[in-house]
Subunit: 436 residues, 2 copies
Amino acid sequence: MTTTDGVLKVALLGCGVVGSEVVRLLAEQADELAQRVGARLELAGVAVRRPARHPEVPAELLTTDAEALVRRDDVDVVVEVVGGIEPVRSLLLAALESGKSVVSANKALLADDGATLHDAATRNGVDLYYEAAVAGAIPLLRPLRESLAGDRITRVMGIVNGTTNFILSRMDATGAGFDEALAEATSLGYAEADPTADVDGYDAAAKAAILAGLAFHTRVTMSDVHREGIGEVTAADVASAQAMDCTVKLLAICERTTVADGTESVSVRAHPAMIPRRHPLAGVGDAFNAVFVEAEAAGSLMFYGRGAGGAPTASAVLGDLVAVARNRVSGSRGAGESAYAALPIRSMGEVTTRYHVALDVADQPGVLAGVANAFAEEGVSIQTVRQEGRGDAATLVLVTHAATDAALGRTVEKLAAMSLVGRAASVMRVEGMTGE
Amino acid sequence: MTTTDGVLKVALLGCGVVGSEVVRLLAEQADELAQRVGARLELAGVAVRRPARHPEVPAELLTTDAEALVRRDDVDVVVEVVGGIEPVRSLLLAALESGKSVVSANKALLADDGATLHDAATRNGVDLYYEAAVAGAIPLLRPLRESLAGDRITRVMGIVNGTTNFILSRMDATGAGFDEALAEATSLGYAEADPTADVDGYDAAAKAAILAGLAFHTRVTMSDVHREGIGEVTAADVASAQAMDCTVKLLAICERTTVADGTESVSVRAHPAMIPRRHPLAGVGDAFNAVFVEAEAAGSLMFYGRGAGGAPTASAVLGDLVAVARNRVSGSRGAGESAYAALPIRSMGEVTTRYHVALDVADQPGVLAGVANAFAEEGVSIQTVRQEGRGDAATLVLVTHAATDAALGRTVEKLAAMSLVGRAASVMRVEGMTGE
């Protein structure tokens, strides 16, 4: 704790889009930040791979030796905006073990192995904050961890990935297919050259794991999350959604379920789903993020804002940095990990959802009865059914009531095997409808 | 600090709609709260006026002597849900001076004299938290104070009073006048028997003062806030708003303004205004609250949820109670008041706003020229003008560009004095439009 001279030293790991904004804001707001913290925040060093590419950082601060930087005696706080699992995990562990507090924007690492980092922070009596890891600038983790600490959160559902939201918004607006919309997102800079992490839902799943951990006081890792990307979402799916006044969104959903004997469990998933157009999440366009939180006493809350980008993410990083720095100035530590509940993870098959199923069927007697039987045999109740004739064939659109995902999956398999039923034109979960 | 035995004692002042929910949640969630705090939270006493009316509270906890309760040696935290200025201020000061931390839901007191309470908290090294004072269950003060502590907030604009929002929503939906909508709100329990604090904007103004203080690191009191209620809003105003695809809302608005020489000032106001129907705040209906926050790095953020009611407000109170209790367990203190910026308050006359003005005019040559001149003489630029003939008379509807409120006020006075202009059918500020 080198605050005796009124200065706190910050080591920055990474200086890309977010890191360079952190450097800029630390300089521009130096006086204000000092007033808020009670000590000046000064950069001790900035670890990058290629120092020559960072003319915006004073040369004497740049280093390629991140390992030495995080262990330096004069460093109080390590800020990490590199991303990825290794070597970052080792670096942050070394920082925590050396008594430094850590601010990270690294959703992948937190979702993969947050427990190891939390344990190290607790053991060393230092802070580990990571507001920027989920939903960029939107204050979300602190409200979950602190503001709602006296309530029981039952559900978190949100749009937490801007790239896929841009793609799905374009498909909805223009009728484009997935490939076309992805190409547009790439050309506009909304999608990375390798869009796998976004498009296949890894990014949303990591954020879902982090949100579920905080909401339910339970350790949740990436492997606990049921993940489906948007690569299979077709223009036909989007059209089907529109036909029932819905739109398709990639949702991160964390739920607490209580069964009859009072046993609780937690389910965590990230997948595309249809939601009603009147649902507040339906209006969240382009690269924005929004998250709904439901708690027993508080009711429904929504948080909305920019989920990515250099400046918004840097805002979240600096908010954490100020909090961590204040704690060091006062010789205290913020609320650490809260994982006492250790609730079991519910498998996706046990999760209750609703399905929208659009089928191409032969337009002849007995088809509807056969289809309805397939649902009935699996105990899945149908909420609405609509048949549209097209000459010899017809399209049958069904929306179910809530049933277990396993039963719904078996029903769809059964339908696909029926001789009078052609390919399923669209099969997708439906969320956010009332009367489930 | 009586945490040696793993118990923190809580004194509750007031046991009405919110207080009884606090009692219920403390009992129902006792085990979970203990896990989150690291100590059990136990009620030391509940101060009420008429103990006989509170069968839900164990009799031995009830007391009418609030003054003795807040000074009791075994009390760690005082939770206040009484409301009003005195005797609450004296009680909370006594609590703080006795080394107790305080959680309050009292917007009027915080807006009237928060400085005295903050000074006492700082002097005694204890916490003063009041998330429940603004926007009920919505986590708003903590995000402003902590999550955005590394950013520069430029504007806060929100719907923070549920009663008036219900009334204005009904006027918008049904075409009802103010009196009729108020009567409906009263009969449904959305308005109190004496609705003055809500209808005249005192409640929204107090919340605006609290929000501005946190957002701008400046002490702001009720007397700094320009306040107008909704009692003068007519069915004609609402119809005029609808004609330009707007709706009328009572808004709390806090702005930071920087003039050419870099000098900054702050304006704080609560008044009805027209906002475009496509603005996210326009869709906030009934008794819900929503607040927009704009910050330089974070961009636009929105927070939405239940702004009042027993359980939602109790959720916010308990979140603060857990935070304060954690601090006591760890022997630390949360971030105290941040008022270093001490920015000057800008008078309403200097604030730039836009106006919607609907005038009944004689339908004859020269009227439009005369009206246009009145605006021009005050340097107010007109964005749109629309004239609708009705026989001999006509209605002239003008929307201005942003100009100082003083210039707009003078223009309206000038118009009212013109012989060819009848009464102004509707004069109202316009907020949330782009291109200001």
